[in-house]
Symmetry: C3
Subunit: 348 residues, 3 copies
C-alpha cells in the first residue's frame, strides 16, 4: 500500500499536522509507525503511557500531546499537538494514501438504459448497474457490486466487492461502502391476518446515505416503509451493523460492530454507540450521547448522557449496581445473619 514517493521533513510535517516542532526541521522522515515498532527514519505517536519510553525508542520523531512533560526529552525531535491522535491520523494519511487513479470502465460492465456514469471512473469487471442511475465523478465500483434502478451516487465514492444496492437508494459523495454490505433491502414489517398468516407490509420507501459516510462490511441498511432511512453526513458504521427501516442517524455519529437499531430509531449527531448495543423501536438518542457496549436502549436517551446495561440506564448508576450484583452472595449472607440476630436462631 506504501506510496513510495512520499517523504517529508519535520518542518513540512509540523505544518501538515498542525503541530509545533521542537527539533530539526530538515530531518527527513521515511515512514509512520506505531510506537512499539518504530525505528530510525520513523515518525511515531507517543501516547501518555509511552512518554516515559521515548528515551529508549529508536524512532526519529515523536508526536506528543501539548502539555506533556518535556524534561528528559532533550535532543529528541518532537511534534507537539493539541490532539496527538489526530496529528498521527494526518501523518498516516500523508504518507500512505495513494492518490486516486482512474482505471476506466471494464468492458464487461452491464448497465441499464438511461444510466449515466461521470468522468474519470474506476469500474472494475463484473459490475451490474440498473436503469436510470446517476453515478458521479471518480466513482470506484469493485467486482461483484450490484446496483438497482434509479440509484444516485455522488463523486469520489468507493464501493467495495460484492456490495448489493437495491433500487431507489441515494448515496452521497466521498462515501465508502465495504464488501458484503446491503443497502435498501425491505424493512421488516408483518402483521398476522385472520388465518394466522404473516402478511408483509410492503416497504415503499428508500434509503439516503449522505456525504462522507462509511459503512462497514456486511452491514444491512433497510429501506423505509414510507419516506427514507437516513444516514447523515459523516456517519461511520463498523461491520455487521443492522439499521432498520426509517432510522435517522445524525452527523458524525459512530456506531461500532454488530449494533442493531430497531425501526424508526432516531440517533443524534456525534453520538457513539458501542459494539452489540441495540435499541427498541421508536427510541431517540440525543446528540453527543454515548451508549455502552451490549446495552439495550428501551427508552429515549437524553443528549450528552452515557448509558449502559439492559434496559439502558445512566452508566454510573449501572456500574454501581453491577458491582453490587457480583456481591449478591455476600449481601444475602449479611441479610441472613441479620435475620438470625433479629429473629433469634430458634425462630428459623
Amino acid at each position: 500500500m506504501r506510496n513510495m514517493a512520499a517523504r517529508y521533513n519535520l518542518g513540512q510535517l509540523a505544518e501538515n499536522l498542525r503541530a509545533r516542532l521542537v527539533g530539526d526541521p530538515a530531518l527527513v522522515i521515511d515512514r509512520v509507525q506505531p510506537f512499539e515498532s518504530a525505528v530510525e527514519g520513523d515518525l511515531t505517536w507517543a501516547g501518555k503511557s509511552f512518554i516515559s519510553h521515548i528515551r529508549e525508542s529508536r524512532a526519529s520523531a515523536f508526536i506528543i500531546a501539548d502539555g506533556s512533560p518535556l524534561d528528559s526529552l532533550e535532543g529528541r525531535n518532537l511534534l507537539i499537538a493539541k490532539n496527538p491522535k489526530l496529528a498521527f491520523a494526518r501523518a498516516i494519511k500523508l504518507f500512505y494514501q495513494e492518490p486516486y487513479r482512474a482505471r476506466g470502465i471494464s468492458q464487461d460492465l452491464i448497465i441499464g438504459e438511461m444510466s449515466e456514469i461521470g468522468p474519470e471512473p474506476s469500474i472494475f469487471p463484473r459490475v451490474t448497474i440498473g436503469r436510470d442511475c446517476r453515478i458521479g465523478s471518480r466513482v470506484t465500483l469493485h467486482p461483484g457490486v450490484v446496483i438497482g434502478d434509479r440509484v444516485r451516487i455522488g463523486d469520489d465514492t468507493i464501493i467495495y466487492a460484492n456490495v448489493s444496492i437495491y433500487s431507489d437508494v441515494e448515496i452521497g459523495s466521498r462515501v465508502i461502502i465495504h464488501s458484503g454490505a446491503v443497502i435498501g433491502a425491505d424493512g421488516f414489517g408483518f402483521v398476522l391476518d385472520e388465518e394466522g398468516r404473516q402478511q408483509k407490509i410492503l416497504q415503499t420507501g428508500g434509503v439516503m446515505i449522505e456525504d462522507d459516510v462509511e459503512i462497514g462490511a456486511n452491514c444491512s441498511i433497510d429501506r423505509a416503509t414510507f419516506g427514507k432511512t437516513i444516514l447523515k453526513r459523516g456517519v461511520k458504521l463498523d461491520n455487521l451493523v443492522q439499521v432498520a427501516h426509517n432510522c435517522v442517524i445524525g452527523e458524525e455519529t459512530v456506531i461500532v460492530a454488530q449494533v442493531g437499531l430497531s425501526g424508526s430509531t432516531t440517533v443524534g449527531h456525534h453520538v457513539v454507540i458501542a459494539g452489540q448495543a441495540a435499541t427498541n423501536q421508536h427510541v431517540s438518542i440525543g446528540d453527543r450521547a454515548v451508549v455502552g457496549g451490549q446495552a439495550g436502549v428501551t427508552k429515549d436517551v437524553p443528549a450528552g448522557t452515557f448509558v449502559a446495561g439492559t434496559p439502558a440506564q445512566l452508566s454510573q448508576r449501572w456500574k454501581r449496581a453491577q458491582v453490587l450484583f457480583s456481591r449478591l452472595p455476600e449481601i444475602v449472607e449479611r441479610l441472613k445473619k441479620l435475620e438470625e440476630m433479629v429473629k433469634g436462631a430458634p425462630d428459623k
Copy 2:
C-alpha cells in the same frame, strides 16, 4: 416504485380491506401515507394515539380500529377495521405492489447440466446455477446469485443480489431471500483430536425453506449435520440472523435482527423472538412464545410464555428483578443501616 395506475374509491377499498365504510364510497384515493405526512387524496391509518388528531389532519380517509370513539369525527371518511394495521398493510399492497413481469433469461446465464428453469422467469445477468437444479415458474434471480447443485426452488420465489445457496438446498414457493444471505453453509461442528487439533465434523445434511418464508439480508442458515435444517411455512427472518445446523423453526414465526439460534434449536409456530436474542443448543421454544430482545435462552420455553433476560426467565419476574437491580445501591444502604442498628455502631 409507485404503480401509477392504481387508484381506488372508498367503496372498493372497504371491500378490499374488509373494513366498514363511514363516508363517501365514491371518493377516489390517490395514495396511502403514514399519518404524519398524509394530505388530500391520501388514505392513512390513525392508530390509538392519532385518533384525537384526525380533526386537524388533511388526509381524505382514515383507517381506524373497530370500537374507536366516533364522536367529533363527523364528516370524516372512516374505514373501520377489526385489525387496522392489517387493513393498512392491505391498502399499501393494493396501491404499491407492482404486478409480476417476466424479464426472461439473461443470455450470460451460467447453468449446469440437467438443470431446468420453469416458465416466465426473470433471470438477471451474472447468475450462476449448478447442475441438476429445478427452478419453478416466475422465479426472479438477481445479479450475483450463486446456486449450487441439486437445488430446488418453487414458484414465484425472489432471490436478491449476491445471495449464496449451497448444494442440496430446497426452497419453496413465494419465498423472498434478501441480498447477502447464505443458505446451506456447513454447520459448526469440531472435536479435538489426540494431538489437540480441531477435527471437522463433516456436515452431510441439507436445508429446507418452505413456502412463504422471507429471509433478511446477510442471514446465515447452516445445513444440517444429518437430515435437514428446516424453516417451515411463513417463517420471517429479519437481517443478520444466524440459524445453526439442525434447527427447526415453526410456521409463521418471526425472528428479529441479529438473533442467533444454536444447533438443534426447535422453535414452535407463531413464536416471536426479538432482536439479538440467542439460544443454547437443543433448547425448545413452545408455540406462540415470545422471547425478549437480547435474551439468552438456556432451557426450554413453555408455549405461550414471554421470557426475557439472560438466562431467560418469565418476563414479569425478570422485569421486577431488573428494577430492583438498578436499586441495589439503595438496598445495600438500607441493609447497612439495619446492621448498624442491630449490631450497634461501636461494633463496626
Copy 3:
C-alpha cells in the same frame, strides 16, 4: 453428497477410528447415522444418554465410550473409543468426504497481471483475481469470489461463493472460507478533527489467515492499522463473527456465531468463545479459557478460567449472583420485614 463407493467392514473401521472392536470384524457397514435415525447397515454413536437404548436400536454397530457398562450389550457390535465423538467424526469423514477432483479453470476467469495459479485448480465461473497474486495447488474458488491484489493462498484451500478478499491478505493451506465472508476490510478507526468531523485513520496493514483455519458465512475480518490481524493455525470461526483490526487469535481456538472481538484483542490457543460474546479493545484472553455466551469481556481473562456475564467474571461467581438476581424481589421483601421488626411499624 454421498460417496456411494465407500463401504467398510467393522475391522477396517476399528482401525480407522482408533477404536477397539467387540463384535464381527467382517460385517459391512453402509452408512453413518445419528442414533435416532440409524437402521440396519448403519454405524451410529451412542452417547451417554443413548447407551440404555442400544438394545432397542436397529443399527448394526455402535460407537461407545471406553468405560461404558457393557452388560446387556451382548451380541451387539461395539466400537469402543476413548473419545467417541472424535471416532464418530472420523467415521462420517470416511464415508462421506468426497475426494478432491480438479475442475480446471473457467474460461471466463478475470485475473490481473503477474498472478499465478498452482496445479490442479478448481476455479468456477465468475471469479475475479487481482494482480500479483499467488494461488496454491488444488485451490477451489466458487463463483462470485473476488480477490484483490498481492493476495497469497496456500494449497487445498476452498473459498465459497461471493467471498470478498481485499488486497494484501495472506491465506494458508487447507483453509475453508464460507460464503459472504469479508477478509481485509478497513479496521474501524476515526478521530474527531477541529471542526467536529470524523477523520479516518488509514488502515495500512493486512490480514494473515494461517493453515487449517475455517471461517463461517458472513464473517468480517478487518485488516490491521499497522502490521497484521492474525488467525493462527486451526482457528475455527462460526458465522457472522466480527474480528477487528489487529486482533491475534491463537491456535485451534473456537469462536461461535455472532461474537465480536474489538480492536487489538489477543486470544490464546484452544480458547472457546461462545455465541454473541464480545470483548473490549486491547483485552487478552488466556490459553484454554472459556468465555460464556453473550459475555462482555472488559478485562484480561486468565488462562484456563471460565468467565461469563457482562462485565465478564468467573462463571461460578456469575451464576451464583445470577440466581440471586432472580430472587431480588424476595430478598427485598425479607429486608423490608426486617426493617419493620427492627424499627417498629409506626416508624415507617
